[in-house]
């Protein structure tokens, strides 16, 4: 090829690159949705109330400088509501940065999560690692809160989950793909964190346990802590041993848990948990007197509390730990084993095998 022909070829090819811009909207023609809430509106014709929090991009990034607007609309389905919402804003809605989806408590009670999940799992721009939660009393109040501590719109809520910002042991983290898996899986049921507004912040210290569609049981904060430790093995938690005049508190830094089924035809559900940590609050010289005795006492107390919670979960008829899936995996999904498990689970006994190891007294002086 001669130089001239080569050059013209290159020019033609470069022009092709420009074509990519033809069907693309610029960033300043887009509204970034930062959190979305779905509520039940009590209107049978338009049961879904969709609330979107839209970020206003700003050049400054500073605490309290986050600007956003909240839009809400009622419609017969979530998809229609989102389409309808587009008529009320001047820019294209973009869900690619939306990582918080709040389902109203009433929606979960009346309509269930199944219909909402259908929309969420089909949208290609919605991340599979979005955080899912239940809004108490409704999603609107959670979505429309604008905390002062936000550096950019919506970051306060997603920093609450996982271990990105705060590492709260009361906060159950459920991703969209995990919820979708639990929605369909035999022998593994969904669990969702419950978020509510408290002063100028979010309070996410409870968990809701669902059957395949609706909420069956709301755990209180203490149970949520136990549930989070035993089911998800979150680190950085505490365990408390009641004592006079002051409770003994262990700050756990490492925590591993696993489930198992022991025994043949009449199995016992076993939860193994290993907790490592140091004492954060205790009477002086307690540890030196009886180190291993204290470890055993804490483990026994923890196991009793956890077993009480497990029986409560069992009696609600849900299985967020996946004991059923474990049973089926042990039985190689043989015919009839699922029916057998369903009758077994109603009467199953739990055995929490906790092992606490105290690394130190926590004293620095």
């Amino acid at each position: 090829m001669t130089g001239k022909r080569m050059l013209s070829c290159i020019v033609c090819l470069t022009l092709l690159l420009v074509l990519g811009g033809c069907q693309l909207k610029d960033i300043d023609k887009r509204y970034f949705v930062v959190s979305a809430g779905f509520d039940y509106s009590n209107d049978p014709a338009k049961p879904y109330r969709v609330t979107l929090r839209l970020a206003l991009p700003s050049s400054k990034v500073e605490e309290g400088g986050a600007m956003s607007v909240v839009q809400t609309v009622d419609a017969a389905s979530i998809a229609e509501a989102v389409r309808h919402l587009k008529a009320t804003v001047d820019k294209e809605l973009e869900f690619g940065h939306c990582r918080e989806f709040v389902l109203g408590k009433e929606l979960v009670a009346k309509d269930g999560i199944y219909n909402s999940m259908q929309w969420l799992s089909r949208r290609r721009d919605i991340q599979s690692v979005s955080n899912m939660m239940i809004g108490d009393p409704d999603a609107l109040s959670v979505v429309s809160l604008k905390p002062k501590s936000e550096r950019y719109p919506g970051n306060s809520l997603f920093l609450s989950f996982g271990n990105e910002g705060t590492e709260s042991a009361h906060t159950v983290t459920t991703y969209l793909f995990d919820l979708y898996r639990r929605l369909y899986e035999t022998g593994l049921d969904p669990a969702l964190p419950v978020a509510s507004v408290f002063l100028d912040a979010y309070k996410i210290d409870r968990a809701a346990l669902l059957d395949k569609n609706k909420a069956r049981l709301y755990l209180d904060p203490e149970e949520t802590l136990l549930f989070n430790m035993t089911a998800f093995g979150v680190d950085n938690t505490i365990i408390v041993l009641p004592d006079k005049p002051l409770n003994i508190v262990l700050a756990a830094t490492r925590n591993t848990s696993s489930i198992d089924l022991k025994g043949g035809s009449d199995p016992v559900a076993v939860v193994n948990i290993r907790i490592e940590g140091f004492l954060e609050q205790s009477p002086p010289h307690l540890l030196e007197e009886d180190w291993s005795g204290l470890e055993r006492k804490m483990a026994k107390h923890f196991a009793e509390e956890a077993e009480r919670m497990l029986y409560k979960i069992r009696d609600a008829g849900v299985d967020p730990y996946g004991f059923g899936l474990h049973y089926l995996a042990d039985r190689h999904n043989a015919k009839g084993s699922w029916e057998k498990w369903k009758s077994l689970y109603r009467e199953i006994r739990f055995d929490v095998r906790a092992k606490v190891s105290i690394q130190g007294s926590g004293l620095i002086r």
Binding site: L19, L24, S128, V129, F177, R181, R182, E185, A329
Partner: protein
């Protein structure tokens, strides 16, 4: 030089995701996918050993030249044409699935023909190069992309969200079912990297020894198990069946918390852009060389500096076919076509392996029509 042979083994192992192999396997996860794995591993390994051993006996000859050694011209040409169809259609299917995936996850607003067009032009240019250039491009792209692919795979394997109970359930239940044919065909694709030797044997020096062949079953088994079980671990035994682009959704379930972009999906799609380009380049180039071998005046060259115009014509024809295919097909149809291709591919591969064994025997007996030296490819470089 032997590394070029293993590059093919390695990248076909990674490419299985784009030819919808995981989709086929996962849709049969409760009836015979798992039990077909041992068969596929045994069969794929055996075929790799046979082809490499036979081609070692014909140093520097591609498959078209070997056909000419033993067959009359008309029969050799017929067999070449079968090769052309199998190879080039693989490239077309991959190009379509790739541009569809990109259209869904990367740039939903742009026309899917735009993605297809850009990729097709890149593939067209890459495939028309000389065999040697193709081999070098292959090395560069693979060396760039495979560490990151392996990183993503290991990130998925060691994730806390991977549910080993679901994997155990599918493995335990599946191994007890009789193997399914469709899954056997699909799973053996993972091992079919050795087929690229049919053309690239032209570049192999006469004294080449195929060492490290024990790696083939290990590499293939690893990619087969990972591409089947990791999506099940992430999406559960039931929900995993609801996804078509199951690996794109699986990588989207991973997070790079401190990465420049947190969605692993985008990194994954970028890597599969490389791998798809690699695959289309290899298949179209092989198809092109097989087609050229049907002409009487054709002399096999491996290192041309200026590629002949006929290269452009042949590959442009495949670009046109790709667009026609993209116009008339959709996701659903493409799934069926991909499954059919996997089946045909395996059958053709099996016939070829038996033919190769026959060639080996005939060479020992000295029943050759022509001399090997007269057919050996020339460099062609100036």
């Amino acid at each position: 030089m032997i590394r070029y042979y293993y590059y093919h083994i390695f990248y076909v192992g990674m490419m299985n995701i784009m030819v919808l192999v995981p989709y086929v396997l996962i849709s049969h996860r409760f009836d015979g996918a798992v039990s077909s794995f041992p068969l596929a591993i045994a069969c794929g390994t055996l075929y790799s050993f046979v082809t490499s051993s036979v081609f070692q006996r014909f140093p520097g000859l591609g498959l078209p030249e070997i056909y000419k050694l033993f067959f009359p011209v008309w029969l050799a040409n017929c067999l070449n044409i079968i090769g052309v169809v199998i190879w080039s259609s693989a490239g077309i299917i991959v190009l379509f699935s790739y541009s569809n995936t990109i259209g869904i996850f990367f740039d939903p607003e742009a026309s899917s023909y735009l993605n297809l067009g850009i990729m097709a032009i890149a593939s067209l240019w890459a495939a028309t190069r000389s065999s040697r250039s193709v081999q070098f491009a292959h090395e560069v792209l693979l060396v760039v992309s495979s560490p990151i692919v392996l990183w993503i795979l290991s990130k998925a394997l060691f994730s806390d969200w991977l549910d080993w109970d679901a994997i155990r359930l599918v493995a335990g239940a599946g191994i007890r079912k009789p193997p399914s044919m469709a899954c056997f065909f699909a799973a053996s694709f993972v091992f079919s990297g050795h087929m690229n030797i049919t053309l690239f044997n032209r570049l192999h020096p006469p004294d080449l020894k195929f060492r490290f062949r024990w790696m083939i079953p290990i590499v293939g088994t690893f990619f087969l198990l990972v591409s089947f079980f990791v999506p099940i671990g992430f999406h559960g035994t039931q929900a995993v069946g609801n996804y078509l682009y199951v690996w794109s959704v699986t990588t989207d379930s991973l997070m790079m918390k401190y990465g420049f972009i947190q969605r692993v999906l985008y990194l994954f799609l970028l890597l599969y852009t490389f791998l798809s380009l690699l695959f289309v380049m290899n298949t179209w180039h092989t198809g092109m060389e097989f087609l050229k071998a049907c002409f009487k005046r054709y002399k096999p060259l491996t290192d041309e500096v200026n590629v002949p115009a006929v290269n452009w014509w042949i590959c442009s024809f495949w670009v046109v076919v790709t667009f026609v295919y993209a116009y008339y097909t959709n996701d659903l149809l493409n799934r069926v076509v991909a499954e059919m291709w996997l089946i045909t591919h395996f059958i053709v591969e099996s016939i070829l392996v038996f033919m190769l064994l026959a060639f080996w025997y005939m060479k020992k007996k000295g029943r050759m029509r022509r001399s090997e030296a007269s057919l050996a490819p020339q460099g062609g470089g100036s």
